[in-house]
Amino acid sequence: MSPAGCSHVNGFKVDNWKQNLRVIYQCFVWSGSAETRKRKAKSCICHLCGAHLNRLHSCLHCVFFGCFSKKHIHEHAKSKRHNLAIDLLYGGIYCFVCQDYIYDKDMEQIAKEEQRKAWKLQGSPPPHHQCIGEKYSMWEPTKRELELLRHNPKRRKITANCTIGLRGLINLGNTCFMNCIVQALTHTPLLRDFFLSDRHKCEMQSNSCLVCEMSQLFQEFYSGHRSPHIPFRLLHLVWTHARHLAGYEQQDAHEFLIAALDVLHRHCKGDDNGKKANNPNHCSCIIDQIFTGGLQSDVTCQVCHGVSTTIDPFWDISLDLPGSSTPFWPLSPGSDGSVVNGDSHPSGATTLTDCLRRFTRPEHLGSSAKIKCSGCHSYQESTKQLTMKRLPIVACFHLKRFEHSAKLRRKITTYVSFPLELDMTPFMASSKESRMNGQYLQPVDSLNNDNKYSLFAVVNHQGTLESGHYTTFIRQHKDQWFKCDDAIITKASIKDVLDSEGSVAHIHQLFLFYTL
């Protein structure tokens, strides 16, 4: 018997008490379906005064409902010597002898099970974010653990000014491309929460699961160690599972990001070979839940105006920059002085919003690229437009700075300014209609936060195409920013991160990570 329980329950725990208790929970406390909710509402009223609020309790020994506030249940308990009652709102067990709520281990077990069942019943299955489903239960210490904790009062708590969660990464030989991505991933809030709450259940046979290694990585980051971590196992696993990275030669952070996400996604399914159905539209692994968005591509025939639509999954959005050899679309007339996304920038500086506008602009496919139109049944000229159909929880923007054209290999150093908060509503497929009518400014619905993103990581590249170095700025504890330069972690200011004038020499933003 736990210290929080009492001996008076023993009188109750006879015969088929477990089943009886379950029935009480199912019918009168945790109502799963709409039916049971109605039944509960109708039947649960105080037998003495008819009220259905007032902290109604049910007697555990007989069928009696009484309100607590008016002491009707107390009267019943006294007269019938029924010592136990259950609160119908939260399922707590009250003992009239002890005059307190008690927590009996066995009874609590039953309560938890019934509660879970009810949660699963509530709401409709897809789309998954509408149903309660599997709720996360907080950890509670056992008796033994409580003892240990009391004997050892030293605690490590993650507070605002705490280094826990931050750790340097040793450079294994030009592996800053990997380190910068790892820092961004370990500070992705949802991913961090997933791994720290130990949600990964490994089904892989071999011990080369990258997700397990990722989990281990989080343990290392939150261990409180000050010396930098050596991610050699991670490197080995990624190269083993992504052979196309062709080893040490490839130092491209973007390729590493995609390859790492891909391997994590495959291993989440417990499959080494990626042979299991990996339809990204229906995958429910954590990587897909967090990173996968849907990009809608509309091809409009210029003759019959019929639209053919496809939706492709994406993990990141690669944006062309002005200064590349592909022509950069001039800013639209409506954008002068526009304050979309807080970009009241001095004229001339390209913003992230500009790049996104270019990305989602209608593009006229020339006469050399005629598409067969199913409406006209012939090859016609068409326009193509990309928009966001489904936004990922974490949006990764990749600025295409490294250009390899036929004769040219260079890094585009154009400065691109970017905001701390980003509203993706103008770039959604749903907003496309109004945009096609020439309206570039949407009335911004400030109450709707569905498409509002916050910046949490910036990956920078400094140097030339031939020899350069990657660093990352990451956000911790809401407002604190830190610079991660391989093994060295230092505090940074928002000003450093945003680099609002592009004034820091030779440092160029490469990846921008935003989260909902």
Binding site: A4, T163, L172, F232, A487
Partner: protein, 365 residues
């Protein structure tokens, strides 16, 4: 008061508002009750105050924000000696060199397939030393064929990735175990710039190394005299260029030999071997050497070889000097060189199982 179904349509606004307010206050009360229960339970179960931290621990993990140190208060750049164990070969590798090691260990590098192919090809030969040599080729390969390789690489590269200059990054630290690291103790990327060296230094370098000047780095090749990437003609040319015509012959032929059991065959036998063009299992470098060696077989040259090596050997080891003395006083060119040939190399290279007659020419590569 029984619960009834009530229609909301007939009600006035004030009544509706009152109802709404009732519902709202009930909800708020229920929420507060829930919180009370949570706290009550936590206190009763004993874990309510469990997560309070002590001051000391708080201080331990406080973020440091000062110049010159990181957030943990540590000075930069103190992590030079970290090591890790390679999951593939289970060897202990310095952390900062792990990536290049892993690349080769997994056989993933740009050159790994070439190395592997060479290994396969030369394992068909009896020449083991070739393959040993080529294990190290991968490190130095790039520089030699840098120009052409790079273009090919560009074709397949990701259109959006930076590329670092590979030649800068290769060190000779991570050689495979069957090769003597001594041979390659110079970091190839730094190379040797002949312009800064004096004649004595040049001589000593040229006695031990290939020495051919790379066209694009202008540095001398630090590989052995048997280096297959450069021909003997090139080696001769560089010696002429650097040391004058008297040093046109390659020195050190005597010490480069592996064959311990080689006794002096007579000159005729050597001449006849020279005509041997080589069978199919001889690698390209062999045939190159046999052509070059033809040139060297003129007796006068042989003599030069001996004396030339004598001059340049001043800085060599005791044993060789002694041997050379023996050789010089030996008399005839061919026999002296053959005596020299009998010397085992001071470099610990694996023994050559080539036919003895070819050995004179092997060292000329």
């Amino acid at each position: 008061m029984k619960m009834e179904d009530m229609s909301l349509s007939g009600l006035e606004n004030t009544k509706l508002e009152a109802l709404a307010h009732d519902v709202y206050s009930d909800l708020v009360e229920d929420a507060c009750l829930g919180l009370c229960f949570e706290v009550h339970r936590a206190v009763k179960q004993g874990y309510f105050f469990l997560d309070e931290t002590d001051q000391e621990s708080m201080k331990d993990f406080e973020i440091v924000d000062q110049p010159g140190v990181d957030i943990f208060g540590q000075v930069y750049n103190q992590w030079k000696n970290k090591e890790c164990v390679c999951p593939n070969c289970s060897r202990s590798i310095a952390a900062s060199r792990f990536a290049p090691h892993l690349e080769k260990c997994l056989g993933m590098g740009r050159n790994s397939s070439r190395i592997a192919n060479r290994r396969i090809a030369s394992s068909n030969n009896t020449s083991k030393s070739e393959s040993d040599q080529e294990d190290n080729d991968d490190i130095n390969d790039n520089d030699w064929s840098y120009g052409s390789e790079k273009k090919g690489e560009l074709m397949h590269s990701n259109p959006n990735s930076p590329r670092r200059s590979k030649s800068l990054k290769h060190k000779n630290g991570e050689l495979s175990s069957n090769v003597n690291p001594e041979l390659y103790k110079y970091n190839y990327s730094s190379g040797i710039s002949y312009e800064t060296l004096g004649p004595e230094e040049l001589r000593s370098i040229l006695t031990t190394q290939c020495g051919v000047v790379s066209e694009h780095t202008k540095k001398m090749c630090t590989r052995s005299q048997r280096c297959p990437q450069h021909t003997d003609e090139q080696r001769r040319a560089v010696r002429v260029f650097l040391l004058g015509p008297s040093a046109s012959a390659l020195p050190d032929s005597d010490t480069m030999l592996e064959n311990d059991g080689y006794d002096a065959p007579d000159g005729q036998l050597i001449m006849s071997r020279l005509q041997w063009d080589g069978s199919s299992d001889i690698s390209p470098s062999d045939s190159a050497s046999s052509k070059a060696s033809e040139f060297f077989m003129k007796p006068s040259t042989l003599t030069l070889t001996t004396t030339g090596s004598g001059g340049e050997r001043d800085k060599g080891q005791e044993r060789e000097r002694g041997d050379r003395d023996r050789v010089v006083s030996g008399g005839s060119g061919s026999s002296s060189s053959q005596n020299a040939l009998a010397l085992s190399s001071r470099k610990k290279r694996p023994k050559l199982p080539v036919p003895p007659a070819l050995s004179i020419y092997d060292d000329l590569n």
